[in-house]
């Protein structure tokens, strides 16, 4: 998760280290809520990252971009993308998918990571990100829609090339 947030391995290591140190200092505040310690650590990591980002106003995403970037992804009321990609060859989508994920806004990428890799539930993601569950669902929907659009393009290109 740290790498996905800061997009740099050395900075990710620093972020993880800071997270553990902070966790150690506030250990008495931990309360078990049925999900174990992992969501709590993710929350600390998330807070450490966004605090540093706000202070440093660094690339790749400024605070203004982070909170106010225009959102051109499909919204809940927009027509759904072509989910039924029957012609899609799932064995050869990884490069396009990786590229699409790299270009996602950080808040979409974070939710995608917590959902797709860590297998967390909406409630857990909402607590980590300190956002409402509805926002989690919305961001996840948008992230998946963007990825589906990319795969739709890939399927079309593949069809045109006859591959």
């Amino acid at each position: 998760m740290a790498v996905q947030l800061v997009r740099h391995p050395d900075e990710a290591s620093d972020l993880v280290q800071e997270t553990y140190m902070k966790a150690l200092r506030v250990a008495e505040r931990f309360e078990e809520r049925g999900g174990g310690i992992r969501p709590w650590l993710f929350k600390i990591l998330h807070n450490v990252f966004y605090t540093k980002l706000a202070k440093a106003k660094r690339d790749p995403m400024s605070v203004d971009e982070l909170h106010g970037a225009p959102d051109d992804s499909p919204g809940p009321g927009d027509p759904s993308p072509a989910w039924n990609l029957q012609s899609l060859d799932w064995e050869h989508v990884d490069e396009r998918l990786k590229d699409a994920i790299d270009h996602l806004r950080p808040e979409y990428r974070t939710v995608l990571l917590l959902w797709g890799v860590e297998g967390l539930k909406y409630r857990e993601i909402a607590e980590i990100e300190d956002i409402p569950i509805g926002t989690v669902m919305s961001r996840l929907h948008r992230a998946r829609s963007i990825l589906a659009d990319q795969l739709d393009d890939l399927a079309e290109e593949t069809g045109r090339l006859g591959g």
């Binding site: 790498v3 996905q4 391995p9 990710a12 290591s13 993880v16 280290q17 553990y20 140190m21 966790a23 150690l24 200092r25 250990a27 008495e28 505040r29 931990f30 309360e31 078990e32 174990g36 310690i37 992992r38 650590l41 759904s80 989910w83 039924n84 990609l85 029957q86 799932w90 989508v93 990884d94 998918l97 990786k98 994920i101 995608l112 990571l113 959902w115 797709g116 890799v117 860590e118 297998g119 539930k121 909406y122 669902m137 996840l140 998946r144 990825l147 589906a148 795969l151």
Partner: protein
């Protein structure tokens, strides 16, 4: 929400009935399932593990910090602080280093809660009883086990992701050739084990489940507790049903990981165990 496992059991059943009637909606669900699988593979392949030196750096920094006196916190983290009331610096450092190591490989183990001693008061039987009871509970749900209740519904993804706490991908074989289809896999808890995961398979024709729990082999299981199996490539033992342990449990190890296997249909047990062990051996021999 259905494909994310966010519906309650009643809603899940209703949704599954609806999906049987609507092929397009079922196609959407299948798409989301595959998308999740590929997202997981892409995002874990790019950065599978943390750098080796990071754990050392964190341990060093923990040792160098003056820790405040703290009350032993509530919840599972209390078990990381072995002192009765105040955090012993070395114990905290060692404990947090253990935590760091687990999280750094990606997936942190479920909380190490205060395990009550099982009916047998020994680690082998406690673990076997736990997995047998879980299996029996799943089997009693009229065989209707929802894949959406698992973290992973694709075997390849499960093997890649659930192996992270163990420091290597898992090598759990498909059982399609034996008439069992993969249902799902998730992290779980097993007594006396600091991390664990659970794979579930079900018979393609008729009732019957296969449960496989995987835990680190730290020598916590007494392999003389049960009947030794000589005919399998990796050997193992069978713990017979006993009191609170409702099913036979086969336990074997590949030297690093221990596997606890429960199979509803007794006649299928030898072939299932053979298939799993052969795959482990074949994978160990692969570069």
């Amino acid at each position: 929400m259905y494909s994310d496992g966010e519906l309650d059991p009643e809603q899940t059943v209703r949704m599954e009935l609806e999906l049987r009637e609507h092929a397009q909606a079922a196609g959407c669900v299948e798409f989301e399932r595959k998308l999740r699988e590929r997202v997981c593979v892409v995002m874990t392949t790019e950065h599978p593990t943390a750098p080796q030196e990071l754990a050392g750096r964190i341990r060093d920094e923990i040792r160098s910090v003056d820790l405040p006196d703290v009350q032993a916190p509530s919840g599972p983290i209390r078990h990381l602080f072995r002192g009765p009331r105040h955090a012993n610096v070395f114990a905290v450092a060692a404990s947090l280093a253990l935590v760091a190591g687990a999280v750094l490989v990606g997936i942190f183990a479920p909380p190490i809660d205060a395990w009550r001693a099982g009916s047998y008061g020994n680690q082998t039987r406690d673990a076997a009883t736990h997995v047998a009871q879980e299996h029996a509970a799943a089997a009693s749900a009229f065989g209707e086990v929802a894949a959406s209740g698992f973290q992973h519904q694709a075997l390849q993804t499960a093997n890649a992701t659930l192996g992270r706490p163990f420091g290597r991908p898992l090598q759990i074989a498909e059982l399609d050739g034996l008439g069992y289809e993969f249902v799902g896999a998730s992290q779980c808890e097993v007594p006396h084990c600091d991390s664990a995961c659970h794979y579930l398979f079900r018979r393609s024709n008729g009732p019957g489940l296969v449960s496989l729990h995987i835990v680190p082999d730290r020598g916590q299981f007494d392999m003389t507790e049960g009947m030794r199996i000589r005919s399998l490539p990796l050997g193992g033992m069978i713990l017979p049903k006993k009191e609170a342990c409702p099913m036979e449990v086969v336990v074997f190890s590949d030297g690093e990981l221990a596997y606890l296997l429960v199979v509803c249909v007794a006649d299928d047990l030898p072939q299932v165990a053979q298939r799993l062990q052969e795959n482990l051996l074949a994978s160990a021999g692969s570069p």
